[in-house]
Amino acid sequence: MTSKNTDNLLDRLIADAQADDYALAGRPGGRHVGVLGWVVFVVIGVLLVAAFLQRQDVQPAAAQRRAELTQRIEASSARVAQAQTTAAQLRGSVSQLQQLATRGLGDDFAEQVQAVEAASGFVGLVGPGAVVTLRDGAQPLPKGVTEDEARVLDIDMQMVVNGLWQAGASAIAINGIRLTSVTAIRTAGEAIVVDFRPLVPPYTIDAIGPEDLAAEFERTPASEELAQLGIDYGIQSKVSQANEITVPASTANLPTRAEVVKGGQR
């Protein structure tokens, strides 16, 4: 302990901490280092390396695990995409077989089946319609808008899709994913998820409908709101008419356990 006799706790603490152990021990010493001293020096050196190695180990392990997970996610996504393609093909052949099977049941029945198939997204469709493209706002953004705020949101997408239905669209696909009555448009993290699959911007919404679908859409409130989004947040959008639009079959899980209710009652 130093001879400084202060009342200040902090001063005393610092004085204690800085005390020279060797001087305080009051032993006659020299410069000679004995075996025990050597051992402790070596031990401290080993400790230093151990601590260093430990810190080094921690990060690569995490990065490695991350890479493994990414790989697994990518492999699973590829498998899902493949299975969904197969499912769409199988649905196509089911539809053809159904047409063959119902041939004898009258034109009415075949037409009804086709209408149901088209409406439920069971088959892919080709026809005239409109294409709406949405892009996240790019620099320069409107004053006071951050890049996060200039992103297209799931609600924006829902609004546009609902506008298209309102304008008379009969089939819609977003970035090649068919919308059905059981397809949700949601947000997961920063990505918009349609039919549980994340979308990569820019967003292309293909809609099959009447010849004047684009013009009809421009008359809906959704179109106005979309324009307002462009002014407020810098979200870029384009609506154009197209003569031939291809919308794929849905890959959503159709309700397989549901039964048709006769006469609207059980």
Binding site: Y22, R27, G29, V33, G45, A51
Partner: protein, 110 residues
């Protein structure tokens, strides 16, 4: 000089054998290393002063490591482990600074 040679021998040994640190030692290793650095800086200072003593060196190192680890362990039990580690590291760093300042004064006479 001798202290630094010993330290380098230890570092080389450590690199050669790359010791695995058991998981339960995670919290105590950094504190032990700081205590070790404190002991080494104190030893170098005393060698320059000419009053180095094996016994003081070994006892002060072991004592500091034990007290520092015990404090961190106690802090862990009380839920203030991280703060306790900070406190221990601050005190030991202060000692290292004081020793380094003393060495500087002796070596550079400034």
């Amino acid at each position: 000089m001798i202290a630094i040679i010993g330290l380098i021998v230890g570092i080389v040994l450590g690199i050669l054998f790359s010791p695995e640190v058991p998981a339960w030692m995670d919290a105590y290793l950094p504190v032990a290393v700081i205590a070790g650095l404190d002991a080494v800086s104190g030893a170098i200072r005393s060698m320059i002063d000419g009053n180095f003593s094996d016994k003081v060196f070994v006892v002060s190192f072991l004592g500091n490591v034990v007290v520092a680890s015990a404090l961190v362990w106690l802090g862990d039990q009380l839920g203030v482990g991280a703060q306790m580690t900070t406190g221990v590291v601050v005190v030991l760093a202060m000692r290292i600074f004081a020793n380094a300042a003393a060495i500087r004064r002796k070596v550079f006479k400034a």
